[in-house]
Each structure stands twice: as structure tokens, then as C-alpha cells.
């Protein structure tokens, strides 16, 4: 008889980036890298666990932008082209290193195997749409796939415009149904951004649970007697689960976290930067921009500089991943044992992470998960893996409280998405919502071209609302691209709005942006018409 539960939650998300107008768009590679390094490795882990009949349950959000990209035929074709290029590179590398660099040769062979297996799964098994793979694991009862805001819009900054919040949630729930054949029961709030009252819109769509950061529940009103180790019901009936601080820290912390171990692979040394330009030029950007290929030969080694690293040893790294999985399990057991008897129920320890941490940033992350799940199943009896939904099934009675305004961003509130570098975006976004409310009630919305233009305006607005743009600007990464995306979508929205209102819809312009921003083919702007 176990004494508690651990719930792993992976949040898989990328902003919608699709540029049919460019043959090789730099930012589209974010998706391709994540497919090879995270999504396919995770799928392989799930399928392997199922094949070995290992009992497990976990939760994964696949956000609507990601689901739309993964199911898009243009991006699927481009991914296969990208993968084939990586296969070519790995073969070249196997040849280059065969005689003189045996250790690196071994790694080149490893990458060749990884890319080959990715191609087999992506092309042969799922015909390019790996969502089918995740659906398979969900339908087998091991994975609870949850949704997210339609375009990962940061909902607390929409709190004065209910139609905007509703459109994000309703569009997401409808899109989830299109991909997975059922309604979502849970949601990953974009950036875990919660404001009191938000749960009402989740409940409207039949969403029964969501996840907040630790202090979202710790600072709830009234204060929850079970701390973060049991969910609370909001007045709407939706349940809030909180992130457990300790299990997060063990994985996330840059100082104490596992991914920084010296035996693990170093992310920032990649052949795309290391090898001579003439040799590598066909495997980086066609404009000659060096970039990460995913082939990396060094381990973290120590705190020294990147130029002085030791060669990666896969066996040692996997042993370390197994060791860390054992440590992670042991600490969860310790937590559960401490909590045992202090609660009127079994505790739930909820451990949410960005999915892309596993594989992309932390190369051995998927193997860590695999080891952890197998050890949990066979090496201990203190806790079981569960999902929030299963926990609510077992414990339908929960304390009533209202979570506190919070996010999982830096400092725990809203400043990552609302600060002097990004606040210029919001007056435009909010004004566009008001215009969209007008469009949703437009008297000629039943006419084919007007309806199309209104739906496309809604898509442009949703895309502009993505929290990623503000995040990227705040963190000073791809700043120009992020700013440009907000501009592009807002300009397209405003142009459509003017054309609709003036009765001068340009069918060529409309067709062009429908083809570019083709997210949510079934988008229904009705949510914008529901405000009082």
C-alpha cells in the first residue's frame, strides 16, 4: 500500500512559427530541434515503457501552437528535409572521425543512430504527425494530455477583457478536440499565469484542473490546510494543483540541479560552430549563419571555459542519469513519508517542468525520466505516479479556496511579461480585442468572405497575444524577431479590420495571410461576441 503520489507534468510548448514565404527560416529550426531532441525522445521513452509493460502515469501539456505546427504538412516536410541533412552530416562525421578520433567517432555513430531512429518514428510509424504517437499513449491510459491557452497568451494581462480570455480557452479546447478526439480535462495556464476569477472561464469549457506555481496555492484565500500537497477547489469548481518546490529545485536549479552535472553533455559546444566553415556550410543556415546542429561532442567537464572541455562519455552520462533518478526517487519517498499521517489523505507531489528541458537542454533528461519511472515502478512502494485527474477521482472532496495571483516566471508574478521593454504591446493588443468584439457581431459576418476575414483577424490577434514575444524581449534573446511578430500580426489585424468595416476586403491579401498564419482551421470568433 503506497502512502502518496507523485505527478510528473511536462509542459511542451513553442510559439507558432511557420514561414512559408521563406525556404529556410532560422526560427523554424526551434521546432525541428525540439522534435529531434525532446518530442521524439520522450515519445520513444513512453512507447518503450508501454512495450515493457511498466505501469506509469504522467501528464503532458501539448500547447495548441505546438499541436498545430506538429500537424502541419509544410513543417512536417521541412522537418524531414532538416533531419535528412542531419543524417548526411552524421555520416560525414562518422567518416571524418573513423581513423583518427575514435571517441568522437563513437559519438558520431550515436548521433547517426538517434537521427535514424527519429526518421523511422517520424516518417515510417506516424507519417509525419507525431501527435498520433502521443495520442496513442494517452488512449492507452498512461498519459494525460492537457491543453493550454490557444496561443499561450498571458491571461492575467487580459483580465479586463473576458472575451479575450474566453477566446484563448475556448479556441484551445476546441483545437484539442480536433487533435485528440476528446475534450481536455486539464490545462496548463500559459506561464502558470493565474488571476483570481480566471478559473470561471476554464470551468465554462469543462476544464477540471489547472496548475499554479507554489505560492499560487500557498497564498490562496483561505490558506490551504494541506499546503501544496493537495489541490484546492476554486469557486467555479475547477481544481488548482501547485508545483512542489523541492522537486522543482532538484531539476531546475542551476546550482543544485541535476542537469549541470559535469558528466552530462555540454549544450554550448556544437559542431555547427566548431568545424571549419567549408566543411559545415551545407549543414548550417544557407546564409552562412553558424548555428546549433545538435551534434555535440563534449561533456560539461567543470566550471572552466568552453574551449577546454573533455569528450563526452555516453556510458558515464547514462550512469549518472540513473543515479540521479535514484536520488530523485529517494527524495520523493522521503517527502511522502514525512507527509504520511499528517494529512487526511495521501499527498500529491506535483513536479512540473518545461518538456524542452528534457533532451534539448538536458540531453540525458529523457533517460533520467525513463530511469525514474522504471525505478518508481519496481524499486519502491512508498508512492505511485498519478495524474491530477486520477487524484481528483480518488479524492473528490477538497478544500475550497481561491488561488493567489501568480505565475511561474522570475519572481513569481507578472513582471516578465509586463515591464518597460514590453509594455508598449498591451495597448495595441487590448484595442484589438475591442475591435474583435465588434467584428464578432458584424452584421455581414454570415457572408463568405466577411466571415473568412473575421476569422483571420481573430487568428492574427491570437498570434499577437502569445506570451513568448514578451518573454523573448524581456530575456533579450531573439528580440527583433519577437517585436516584429507582434507588429506583423497587429498590422495584419488592423488592415483586416479596416477592410471589413469599409467593405473593401482584398481577397489576395486575405488568401495570403490565411496561407501564412494558418493556425486553427476551425477557429470560431463567437467567443468575442459573448461579453455583456
Amino acid at each position: 500500500m503506497t502512502k502518496g503520489y507523485v505527478s510528473l507534468v511536462l509542459h511542451a510548448h513553442l510559439p507558432f512559427i511557420r514561414h512559408p514565404e521563406h525556404e529556410d527560416h532560422l526560427e523554424e529550426r526551434w521546432l525541428f530541434e525540439a522534435i529531434t531532441e525532446t518530442y521524439l525522445p520522450l515519445l520513444h521513452i513512453y512507447l518503450g515503457l508501454m512495450y515493457d509493460r511498466v505501469p506509469f502515469r504522467m501528464t503532458m501539456s501539448i500547447t495548441p501552437p505546438l499541436a498545430n505546427m506538429l500537424s502541419d504538412s509544410l513543417l512536417q516536410e521541412r522537418y524531414v528535409r532538416h533531419l535528412d541533412n542531419l543524417l548526411d552530416l552524421s555520416e560525414k562525421e562518422m567518416e571524418r572521425t573513423r581513423k583518427k578520433e575514435p571517441q568522437i567517432h563513437e559519438l558520431a555513430v550515436m548521433y547517426n543512430h538517434i537521427f535514424t531512429s527519429c526518421r523511422k518514428t517520424f516518417v515510417d510509424r506516424y507519417g509525419g504527425n507525431i501527435l498520433q504517437g502521443f495520442k496513442e499513449v494517452q488512449d492507452a491510459g498512461h498519459l494525460e494530455i492537457i491543453t493550454c491557452g490557444a496561443t499561450h497568451g498571458f491571461l492575467p494581462l487580459m483580465q479586463h477583457q473576458p472575451s479575450s480570455v474566453r477566446a484563448q480557452i475556448r479556441t484551445a479546447a476546441g483545437d484539442y478536440e480536433r487533435h485528440f478526439g476528446r475534450r481536455p480535462q486539464g490545462i496548463w495556464l500559459p506561464e502558470c499565469g493565474y488571476y483570481p476569477g480566471l478559473d470561471k472561464y476554464l470551468a465554462e469549457e469543462g476544464i477540471r484542473f489547472f496548475i499554479v506555481d507554489t505560492h499560487g496555492v500557498e497564498y490562496a484565500v483561505p490558506r490551504p490546510v494541506n499546503g501544496v500537497f493537495a489541490p484546492i477547489y476554486c469557486p467555479s469548481g475547477a481544481a488548482a494543483f501547485a508545483r512542489d518546490r523541492d522537486s522543482s529545485k532538484q531539476v531546475w536549479s542551476s546550482k543544485e540541479g541535476y542537469p549541470g552535472d559535469y558528466d552530462y553533455r555540454e549544450f554550448y559546444r556544437d559542431v555547427g560552430f566548431d568545424l571549419p566553415f567549408e566543411y559545415i556550410k551545407n549543414h548550417i543556415h544557407p546564409d552562412g549563419i553558424r548555428l546549433n546542429t545538435g551534434m555535440k561532442y563534449y561533456r560539461i567537464t567543470g566550471r572552466g571555459d568552453l574551449g577546454n572541455l573533455e569528450i563526452y562519455n555516453r556510458q558515464n552520462a547514462l550512469e549518472k542519469a540513473a543515479s540521479h533518478a535514484g536520488n530523485f526517487m529517494f527524495n520523493r519517498e522521503k517527502q511522502v513519508e514525512w507527509l504520511d499521517g499528517q494529512m487526511d489523505r495521501k499527498p500529491i507531489i506535483l513536479a512540473p517542468y518545461d518538456a524542452e528541458l528534457f533532451g534539448h537542454w538536458w540531453f540525458e533528461g529523457p533517460e533520467f525520466l525513463d530511469f525514474f519511472i522504471r525505478k518508481t515502478a519496481f524499486d519502491q512502494n512508498t508512492y505511485e505516479l498519478t495524474t491530477p485527474r486520477h487524484y481528483l477521482e480518488e479524492y473528490p472532496q477538497n478544500q475550497l479556496a481561491v488561488p493567489a495571483a501568480s505565475s511561474w516566471g522570475d519572481k513569481g508574478y507578472y513582471e516578465v511579461w509586463l515591464n518597460g521593454n514590453v509594455d508598449w504591446m498591451y495597448p495595441h493588443l487590448h484595442a484589438a480585442v475591442e475591435k474583435m468584439e465588434e467584428l464578432a457581431r458584424h452584421p455581414r459576418r454570415g457572408e463568405e468572405i466577411v466571415g473568412r476575414a473575421i476569422r483571420q483577424a481573430g487568428r492574427e490577434l491570437l498570434l499577437a497575444q502569445s506570451s513568448d514575444w514578451a518573454f523573448i524581449v524581456t530575456t533579450q534573446t531573439a528580440v527583433d524577431y519577437a517585436n516584429q511578430r507582434v507588429h506583423d500580426h497587429m498590422e495584419r489585424f488592423n488592415r483586416l479590420y479596416d477592410q471589413i468595416q469599409q467593405g473593401t476586403i482584398d481577397p489576395d491579401f486575405l488568401s495570403d495571410i490565411e496561407a501564412k498564419d494558418n493556425i486553427f482551421p476551425n477557429f470560431d470568433p463567437g467567443a468575442y461576441a459573448l461579453t455583456s
Binding site: P156, L157, H160, P162, G197, L198, K200, A203, E204, E218, Y219, A220, V221, P222, R223, V225, G227, F229, C234, S236, G237, D246, Y258, S323, N327, Q335, L339, K375, E393, P396, Q397, N398, Q399, L400, A401, V402, A404, A405, K411, Y413, Y414, E415, L418, N419, G420, W424, M425, Y426, P427, H428, A431, V479, N483, V486, H487, E491, N494, L530, T531, S532
Partner: protein
Amino acid sequence: MPRSFIRKGEDSMLPFSYNKDRCRMYPVNPGTLYAYWDYSSDTWQRLERIGAELAVYLVPDKGPEERHLMSREIKSYYFKGLREATPYRLRIMARGDQGEEFLLESSIVATPAGHPSEDSTVVYASLRIDEPLPESESKSGKDFEEETIHDSRYYFEAFLKGTQKGKTVGSPEPAAMISEHFSHVTFKPEAEPLHLPSSFDLAKKSNHRDR
């Protein structure tokens, strides 16, 4: 019209102003609120006619209000050093030679909580996940007013009020939704929340159990 919203990252393709009277305020963190505002051309002309600067009042639900004087060209502001978990309203006045004249007002916005609540009421409710939630009011066309205060305490008190009186108390009204579908609601004595003790040290990586 004034140059509004021209900030980092923006170019001239987006409007300077939307020609509407607007004042919106948002929480940033427990000590900070952010507000932006815009004017219709009528209001802007009135502001110019008065020759005014702005007197911006931040009014908490309890305690003294804050007054900030600023140029009429300013159209956004971060209010810092505020009380956590406190509702505020922003009121913008034109301040000219003849005194102050009302221009704009925001809805009430609460700063987030930065500490656990002192409210130790314990209310349990049962709700089966395999039973659908009833349709909420908004699906039938009603909705929260923009005046809704997005504050945890407010929502919880509204719920209790509705439950204890056995009736709804008008929109926004969480109890209107909850009282119909929670199978029962029980009140328990006050209790202390559960925390892992600060002395609860996790095993270091080197102390892991043998594989």
C-alpha cells in the same frame, strides 16, 4: 493627438492613439501596479484647453490615496511601493489653473498577495470529476462586469456569502455557480496549514540510495 505608446520596439505602423478614453491598470507584483491610458480627441482637446498637467490618484480600498503629478504627455506609469493584496483604483484628473477636473478612471485592481493569507477558514466541498459542471451564467450571455475585482479574498467572501445565505448575490457571483454543483459544503474548525519544515533537507545527490 499626443504621441502615445511610442516605446521600445515599436515603429510608426501601429497607431499612436486609438482615439478612445481608456484607463487600464494591471498588477505587476505585490508592490507594483502598471497603468496606461489614452484619450479620445475630445478629451485630449479638453486637456489642452485647460492647459493642464495630470493629477493621478491611486486610491486604495482603505487608507490614504496617493497623488502623483505628471505631464499630460505621459500615458503610462508604474506605481511602486504599494500594499500587497490591496484593491486600488486609478483616477486621472486634469489639473489647471481652475483646479482639478475628472478625466478618466480605471477599474479596481488588486495587488497580488505576497504572503499566506491570515484567513484560516476551512471549507470542504465534494465534486465528482466524472459529473459535468453546469453551464455558467456567462454561457447564457451574462458576464462579469469589468468592475470585477480580481482578488482572492473578494471571491472567497462572495462565495461564502452566497453559500451561507443559500442564495446568489448578483454578478460576479461564484456561489451562483458553485452552490448548484458542489454536492455538499462543510465548514470545519480553523486549522494550521501544512508545510514541510524548513529543516527538511533533501538528500544530496551524493547520498542517493543504491540503485
